[in-house]
């Protein structure tokens, strides 16, 4: 009967595991405050003095600099904060994905590229800036960068750089100075020299958008305060868009086009690479005196010139939400310091990262940097990146391969139609996206809000049955998280109007507020809401 033994072993193992999960009070976060000293003072006066063990995620080449900067912060800050930081190299592209995967395990302070912002806000991975900090940051930094760190009206991150844009590096020994303004001539030069024209068009929407911005197309997205995308103004699928893909065709179909954005491609056969300031040192090392930088060229379609555009983005530094207000405040102090005028300047000097700080931007050193000068030359044609839906990058990057495969104008148009259809799909109502949100006391008290899914029936209507508890405010409305401005409420109720309260025209929410508690069935057929009391 050794079965018992086996079972016991199993049980003990299972138990050990379960106990580990169970030892924490479920409401507890499992984190003890990292403060070691000055507990008394903290509680009495909100003093921040203490030692904090934290993890900082920065790009690999900034690790050493960040360590020195933190050491300097420890010496100079007047609050008595001692930061004991582990600085890990995490690329700005990965940081977003990692934080969303597990916020708890993520860095307390982390750097990320702007495109990750909305996703991070939605995942509650960014701690909102306090009122004072927000006003200081807003004042000191470029408006475009501040906008990139804002969701709703609130600031969620600190500006790190303002140089996340691209321009053109070229090899002067291959490309004549006179040709740099014309895409057609550049492609011809590359083909003649058997050298590559490198621009990441097949795998990156960020670079590919250049052609669309050239012809005046836009893709502007708006979010609500939670980071949800509520609407888009997208004109890629238009006559201008068609001109854009015709321009793209000229490059992407060239045998000497290389879909890459690495500055080091110059070492393996490239004559032109479209990339940003971060590759400046690497390119300079390879090309030496032959390095040329310039704004992007123009392309010609039907006798008209279009100057290629670009994204004008930034990198941000975020603070992870904490449960301990003292630690949170200390982290904000550190982040504020690390993105302050002095540190941004140091980063520019050591790594050529273009500062977002207005005072730094105005300094002579920054003004005279050739990489940033090229970025500046490109800036009249660039578009502030703003907030863009995470899926857009996946949807739009397909255009490159589509254009390459297209054989005629119809094919090009199909690529745009395909794009458009997918963008629309993003905001399409479907069964899993239709919710009934009920807030049984007050809309502003999130604790009491309940979410119910509307289930699609065979006849195409969506419905649900719910219990409305007795409370002060028994209201709710039908929403689609993808499109908050498309809520359905009192105005759509056709059957069962007597069951709900008319709050009057002055109530903008237009909620469905039940007169009495009970069990109701709510049905939405696409135009009208039917309410039946069961």
């Amino acid at each position: 009967m050794k079965r018992i033994l086996a079972l016991l072993l199993t049980a003990l193992m299972v138990f050990a595991l379960a106990a580990c999960g169970g030892t924490n009070d479920p409401k507890d976060t499992g984190k003890t405050p990292d403060t070691k000293a000055g507990d008394d003072t903290q509680q009495s006066g909100g003093e921040l003095a203490g030692t904090y063990d934290i993890v900082v995620w920065v790009a690999e080449n900034a690790v050493e600099l960040t360590k020195t900067q933190i050491a300097k912060f420890n010496e100079t800050n007047t609050d008595g904060i001692k930061i004991n930081a582990t600085v890990e190299p995490v690329s700005e592209a990965d940081a977003g994905t990692n934080m969303v995967t597990d916020v708890e395990a993520g860095g307390d302070i982390f750097c990320f590229a702007q495109d990750q912002f909305a996703r991070l806000v939605l995942a509650n991975a960014l701690a909102k800036l306090g009122t004072n900090a927000a006003s200081i940051v807003k004042e000191a930094n470029a408006a475009g960068v501040v906008a990139a760190a804002t969701a709703g009206d609130e600031l969620y991150a600190y500006p790190l750089t303002a140089d996340n844009g691209y321009f053109m590096y070229y090899d002067k020994s291959v490309i004549p100075e006179a040709d740099i303004d014309s895409l057609e001539k550049l492609v011809a030069d590359c083909e003649a020299a058997n050298k590559y024209f490198s621009m990441e068009l097949n795998t990156s929407a960020w670079y590919l958008a250049s052609f669309f911005f050239a012809t005046g197309c836009v893709s502007e997205w708006t979010t609500d305060a939670d980071g949800n995308f509520i609407s888009v103004n997208d004109t890629f699928d238009s006559p201008e868009g068609l001109i854009a893909v015709k321009g793209m065709e000229k490059l992407i179909k060239s045998p000497m086009h290389l879909s890459s954005s690495k500055g080091t491609e110059f070492a393996s056969g490239a004559a032109i690479v479209v990339t940003g300031t971060w590759d400046y040192e690497a390119v300079k090392e390879i090309l030496g005196d032959n390095m040329g930088v310039a704004d992007l060229p123009s392309f010609e379609v039907d006798g008209k010139e279009y100057h290629m555009g670009s994204f004008n983005g930034c990198k941000l530094m975020g603070v992870k939400p904490q449960t301990d207000a003292v630690k949170q405040a200390a982290l904000h102090k550190l982040a504020q310091y690390l993105t302050g005028e002095e540190c941004q300047m140091e980063r520019f000097e050591a790594l050529s990262w273009g500062p977002a700080n207005l005072a730094d931007q105005a300094s002579e050193k920054v003004q005279s940097n050739p990489g940033l000068a090229a970025l500046l030359a490109q800036s009249p044609y660039s578009v502030p990146q703003g907030q863009i839906h995470g899926s857009w990058w996946d949807i739009a990057k397909v255009i490159g391969d589509d254009v390459k495969a297209a054989t005629d104008e119809a094919g090009l148009q199909a690529a745009l139609d395909n794009y458009k259809a997918k963008i629309e799909e993003l905001f399409k109502l479907d069964s899993s996206a239709l919710l009934f949100v009920g807030a049984w006391n007050d809309w502003n008290n999130a604790d009491d809000a309940d979410t119910y899914y509307l289930v699609k029936a065979d006849d195409g209507t969506y419905s649900l049955t719910l219990d409305v508890p007795e409370s002060d405010y028994m209201g709710g409305r039908i929403v689609n998280p993808g499109k908050w401005d498309n809520d359905k409420g009192f105005a759509q109720v056709t059957t069962g109007v007597e069951l709900v309260k008319d709050l009057g025209d002055d109530n903008p929410d237009n909620n469905i507020v039940f007169v009495e508690a009970g069990n109701y069935t709510v049905t939405w057929d696409g135009t009208a809401v039917t309410i039946v009391k069961n």
Binding site: L17, V55, A93, D94, S268
Partner: protein, 291 residues
């Protein structure tokens, strides 16, 4: 008989045609060997390149030197290497014990739920393991074995799931005659004594095969290990650490180091593999084909 009469002439023809075909085969084998070796030779050459650290369009370095190996030594690489070595070593021992226990029990005993158990594990294997990564991560995180403590965490997961890979060694045990056991049983030996005194000495190939595969596997794990170490360089294995060097922000300065690291990882594993190749072949042919 006709055959004997013809044989001398036929022999000559045979010998000639065999000589021709053997020459052709030798040529083919040389070509195959070149194709097989080219990438490795290239990696080796790149690791000695000193003039630049990024990818270039040529193979032979213009400036030879050990710079990349020196910078490897000064980076986190030794730490990662040690991590991986510990994981591989512990994994090799523990996984071998587990696999042998499992396969011996399933090969030699006939108990009630045996078939059901084997079928159950077969079915479990149909689920893509990739899916369970995230939940394993959470479980390990709750026990505190992620990030800086990823090494014991990884060992735990590797060992715990190693029982699933019993097929090959069970196949091997199946080929050992049962009469051995029966004779020993008659002499009054316990099952444990039979395993220790009779079966294990005969199982050298499969033991070495299991040790070898268990030792080699952790060196290449860059997906799961990356998840578990979660960007904490103290808990990374070589694969995760080196994989990060290929990120866009590091590749310009770390590419040749990546190649050098590749050489350092590959050399001991390759030597070990080549030395024990004979047993590997015996183990895999004895076991793998029987399922």
């Amino acid at each position: 008989m006709n055959n004997t009469v013809k044989s001398p002439k036929r022999h000559m023809g045979l010998a000639r045609s065999r000589a021709i075909s053997n020459t052709v085969i030798h040529i083919v084998l040389v070509i195959i060997s070149i194709i097989w070796l080219i990438p490795f030779v290239f990696i080796l050459l790149q690791s000695f390149r000193c003039e630049s650290a990024y990818q270039v369009g040529y193979v032979v370095p213009q400036q030879w030197g050990f710079d990349n190996y020196v910078s490897l030594w000064n980076s986190n690489f030794p730490k990662w290497y040690l991590n991986t070595f510990i994981i591989a070593l512990v994994n090799a021992v523990a996984q071998t014990v587990i696999v042998l226990c499992m396969s011996y029990a399933l090969s030699r005993f006939r108990f009630k739920l045996r078939k059901a158990l084997m079928r159950f594990m077969l079915v479990l294997g149909f689920f893509p393991g990739m899916l369970t990564m995230i939940i394993l991560y959470r479980v390990l995180k709750d026990i505190g074995l992620t990030q800086a403590h990823a090494v014991p965490g990884l060992i735990l997961v590797y060992i715990a799931s190693s029982g699933m890979g019993y097929y090959v060694s069970k196949g091997f045990f199946d080929t050992l005659p049962k009469s051995l056991d029966e004779a020993a049983r008659v002499d009054g030996a316990t099952r444990f004594q039979i395993l220790r005194k009779i079966i294990l000495p005969l199982s050298k190939p499969i033991v070495i095969y299991t040790i070898l595969t268990a030792f080699m596997a952790p060196w290449g794990d860059f997906v799961f290990a990356r998840y578990i170490s979660f960007e904490n360089s103290a808990g990374m294995n070589v694969a995760v650490g080196m994989y990060n060097w290929l990120n866009l922000d590091q590749i310009t300065t770390k590419y040749t180091m990546f190649c050098a690291g590749g050489v350092i990882v590959a050399v001991p594993v390759t030597i070990l593999f080549l030395c024990l190749q004979k047993y590997y072949v015996e183990g895999v042919t004895g076991g793998a084909v029987k399922g």
